[in-house]
């Protein structure tokens, strides 16, 4: 190695492992990259061709940290742009570099000087601003400390929670400023505004609506009950759809069309959520497209980036060592399992497939059972909550919360059953996790769907001609949108109560029990691990409720924001006080991309009932901004009819089939093109990888040739 270096000519420098022509580039650059050891020798500038190869002889076995340094990104031919402090050389050399840089700046023209200094200060200012803005991020310090103690998997959960808080807050601002604020302004006559209530077109039975807002002296208990179930005094507040029975708001001479604003704000928040989620998931998607393997689970990540350099505590260090050891051992076991699976015989495969089919049938049966029970309970609750008089208030409250309770029970039992069953299906551990998650997602989102379906069957349930006059069941639901809003409100409140109750009554006592009671059974039960996927599904479930419910209850996002805000601190406290950093690593799918995909599925699921309510079910004639329209959607064609003819024709043209079908076809073509492009890029990446291998082989070949030529 050293012989080769010495024998190579002055223009050739021996890259360890290869050759590179150092004749290119300024002499300046060479001295910048000189290693520490040659510092004293490097006081002369330029022309020192032998620097990197100089200590090739007796000191050849000493370290030569120049190869990594050469890999620093530098523009070819130009003065090195990076500041001296970012060079991986010793302090004396950095000082020299800085002097040389300053000396060169002196020789430049004034214009060059000014350009360079302004560019540097701009870059610095930008990085300062970036640094400062990262300080303004909500909960930056909390999430940082969680990451340090519990790892990136759990940290991704909390980052996701933070994202949801922000999303809900923005949705709330949107709905509030376009719907609630004009209403409040005009109701109190601020800014010279007047309100124009909707006068019903025909006063028939459909328009009778008498919400029992509490008048006079009532028990405190009634207030609490109303708060929890959204009835009573809460029903007539701006929380629910029924409050907004306003045709227009006049602010001096401007007319603000509230029904149109209501509908457009709904579309706006749906579109905003959609775009924001997609924007956030693009990063993860790009990564998944090119690299099939999960980067968290790669061996390199564990070996080279596994040790936390901030550990200063002996017990934490021991825990980390053990955790790394377990992770690597589990990975190796998984490899062995994969090999075993690949070597399965025919008979074995048949047995396993039939077992899997059987288990899937069981799963489907369980799910159908859950959904049917949710349906029955919802119907029962809707029918009976209006019948029982307020004397049996407790029972009434219980009956009203029955659907929420059944859904929560299903969401709790379902994952346990799935986890138990999947062991028999003998998949690889990674696939096991994915499939269980998929099933849990399905249970959670589908249960909301079933609830809404049962509600709709009640509302449009027209057995015995109940809904002939109005198109919906006006007797039970004079203002059915408020009713749906109330159901969503109840779901959200109950979800929140359950999360708090589980934290208070399950986690803390369990921790106390484990710490103070040393009987074998309790110790075997042990402290609960923080199940990332379960917690994430919980909050996605809550968010889906919010997406659906905001149309029926415009202030619901505010409640969701406060709920998630409090949940953050509750979960953080529970995590810090009752969970210890896992000795065994958490093998859940903790990628942010997965969470966002499930949230997107929840959002798309929310589109369906909303589209149905807005476009198909007749809007209630007794309350709300769409009293005088057939359906809520009708306000849009109505407004368009008020536009100038040209614009009208254009808009009608866009929504006709003549436009929609070609548009759809073009979209499909673009999508196929982009998919083909992605595939082509992936192929190019593979080819480049192969090329790298070939190139290094060429290098080896050339070195051998040179060595032979030397002899």
């Amino acid at each position: 190695m050293s012989g080769l270096g010495a024998a190579a000519g002055p223009g050739w420098q021996r890259d360890s492992g290869g050759l590179s022509l150092l004749a290119r580039g300024a002499a300046r650059r060479r001295t910048l990259w000189v290693s520490c050891r040659s510092c004293p020798a490097a006081s002369r500038r330029g022309g020192a061709a032998g620097h990197s190869g100089a200590p090739a002889g007796p000191a050849g076995h000493r370290r030569q940290p120049r190869d990594p340094a050469r890999a620093l990104p530098q523009e070819t031919g130009e003065q090195a742009e990076c500041p001296a402090r970012e060079l991986p050389v010793c302090m004396a050399e950095k000082r020299r570099t800085r002097h040389s840089q300053q000396a060169e700046t002196e020789c430049l023209s004034r214009w060059e000087k000014w350009r360079r200094t302004s560019r540097k200060s701009l870059k610095k200012a930008l990085s300062e601003v970036k640094g400062l803005s990262s300080y303004l991020v909500l909960w930056r310090r909390d999430i940082h400390s969680i990451e340090g103690k519990f790892g990136t998997g759990i940290q991704s959960y909390f980052s996701f929670l933070r994202f949801l808080v922000l999303l809900n807050f923005i949705i709330f601002i949107l709905m509030f400023s376009f719907v609630t604020l004009p209403t409040i302004i005009s109701k109190y006559g601020l800014f010279n505004s007047t309100i124009a209530y909707i006068s019903p077109k025909n006063t028939d039975i459909c328009t009778i609506y008498k919400p029992s807002g509490n008048k006079g002296l009532v028990y405190f208990y009634t207030y609490l009950k109303d708060l929890l179930s959204g009835t009573g005094f809460l029903e007539v507040t701006s929380l629910f759809y029924g409050y907004y029975s306003i045709d227009a708001v006049w602010i001096s001479i401007m007319r603000y069309n509230l029904p149109l604003a209501y509908l457009l704000a709904t579309f706006a928040y749906l579109a905003l959520s959609f775009l924001w989620i997609i924007k956030r998931s693009v990063e993860g998607f790009k990564h998944n497209l090119v690299h099939d393997a999960d980067p968290f689970q790669s061996y390199c990540n564990k070996v080279f980036a596994g040790w936390d350099f901030c550990i200063t505590d002996l017990s934490a260090a021991r825990l980390k060592h053990r955790s790394l050891q377990h992770e690597l051992q589990t990975d190796l076991q998984e490899e062995k399992l994969k090999q075993k699976i690949a070597e399965r015989g025919m008979g074995e495969k048949l047995r396993i497939y039939s077992l899997r089919i059987f288990i899937n049938i069981i799963v489907i049966a369980i799910l159908s059972g859950c959904f049917y029970s949710i349906y029955r309970v919802t119907v029962f609750s809707q029918e009976n909550s209006n019948d029982i008089d307020s004397a049996n208030s407790q029972v009434n409250l219980l009956v009203q919360y029955l659907p929420s309770m059944v859904i929560t029970l299903a969401n709790f039992i379902g994952p346990l059953i799935f986890e138990f069953l999947i062991k028999f299906e003998e998949y690889t551990p990674a696939f096991e996790i994915k499939l269980t998650l998929l099933r849990c997602v399905f249970v959670r989102l589908a249960s909301i769907g079933v609830l809404l379906f049962s509600l709709w069957s009640q509302i449009s349930g027209c057995g015995s001609d109940k809904c002939k006059p109005c198109g919906y069941n006006y007797k039970l639901y004079p203002c059915w949108e408020s009713d749906v809003g109330q159901e969503m409100y109840k779901l959200m409140i109950f979800d929140f109560i359950v999360i708090l109750a589980v934290a208070l009554f399950a986690d803390f006592p369990r921790k106390l029990l484990v710490t103070h009671c040393s009987c074998k059974l309790v110790q075997w039960f042990g402290q609960k691990e923080f199940a990332i996927s379960d917690n994430v599904l919980e909050i996605i479930y809550g968010q889906t409720i919010c997406f659906i419910g905001t149309f029926f209850s415009p202030l619901l996002p505010a409640i969701a924001t406060i709920k998630y805000f409090i949940i953050f601190y509750v979960k953080k406290i529970v995590l810090i006080h009752t969970r210890k950093p896992a000795a065994k690593p958490i093998r859940a799918s903790s990628s942010n991309f997965f969470f966002l995909v499930v949230l997107l599925i929840g959002l798309l699921l929310a589109f369906v009932p909303l589209a149905f309510s807005i476009a198909r079910i007749p809007s209630s004639k007794a309350c709300g901004p769409f009293m005088n329209f057939n359906t809520s959607w009708e306000v849009i064609p109505d407004t368009i009819l008020g536009f100038p003819t040209g614009l009208q024709q254009f808009l009608f043209g866009i929504s006709s089939e003549a436009f929609a079908v070609p548009f759809f076809v073009i979209l499909c073509i673009i999508m196929f093109y982009v998919i083909a492009l992605a595939r082509a890029h992936k192929r190019v990446v593979e080819q480049l990888r192969e090329q790298l291998v070939l190139e290094s082989r060429d290098k080896m070949f050339l070195i051998r040739k040179i060595a032979e030529a030397q002899k």
């Binding site: 492992g17 010793c90 302090m91 004396a92 800085r98 990136t152 980036a305 901030c310 050891q325």
Partner: protein, 200 residues
């Protein structure tokens, strides 16, 4: 008492207010660092650095610092930053080490030093022997020889781009840019710079 530390640059004579604050903060950081350096060997390290004394502390003292004590790679870290490669750090090297270890250093610089640290035999490659030593240090030699061999093979399989059976710097940098935990666990953090700052 210290000469102009090389942790920042001043291109213009007129410094905006925030740069003055940053200057002060960095200066205090360096003073605090000097305090830590001094307290490791009060008899050897002078308080007055204006004459640029040539004082080096041996590796044994430095790896007993609380920040490095539990780190399995502490010897390698100190060796990478020492001028002579034997592990004795002058004050300049000491400041250098903490500056790279802080959250202010860019990713590329950290990757370079990470490579140096994992390269136990300092041949500019991370070969199988280096990997074995790394694994043993990480797991405190709890893995069996077979497991170690398997893991080494897997790592080289994942990261080796040019097919020479060992990781050059290009391979390492490419791999580390994809490793999500690198910037999070590695050389970062509030804690180190908090120790430096002492006032937060």
């Amino acid at each position: 008492r210290l000469k102009n530390p090389l942790l920042f640059e001043q291109e213009q004579l007129f410094l905006p207010v925030w740069q003055i604050c940053r200057f002060c903060w960095l200066f205090l950081l360096v003073c605090r660092l000097h305090g830590r350096y001094h307290e490791m060997a009060p008899n050897v390290v002078p308080m007055d650095y204006t004459k640029d004394p040539d004082v080096k502390l041996p590796m044994q003292l430095i790896i007993n610092m609380p920040e490095l004590k539990e780190n399995p790679f502490k010897e390698r870290i100190v060796e990478s930053f020492s001028e002579d490669g034997e592990g004795s750090l002058s004050f300049n090297d000491f400041v250098d080490m903490f500056s790279v270890l802080s959250e202010m250093a860019p990713r590329e610089l950290k990757a370079i030093y990470a490579f140096k640290i994992y390269d136990f035999n300092t041949d500019n490659f991370i070969c199988k022997a280096d990997l074995e030593k790394t694994l043993n240090k990480l797991t405190r030699e709890e893995l069996t020889a077979e497991e170690i061999t398997l893991v080494c093979e897997k790592v080289i399989e994942e990261a080796d781009m040019d097919g020479d059976g060992k990781l050059g710097f290009a391979d390492f940098e490419n791999m580390i840019s994809k490793a999500p935990d690198f910037l999070r666990y590695y050389f970062k953090k509030n804690r180190v710079s908090c120790i430096l700052a002492g006032m937060f």
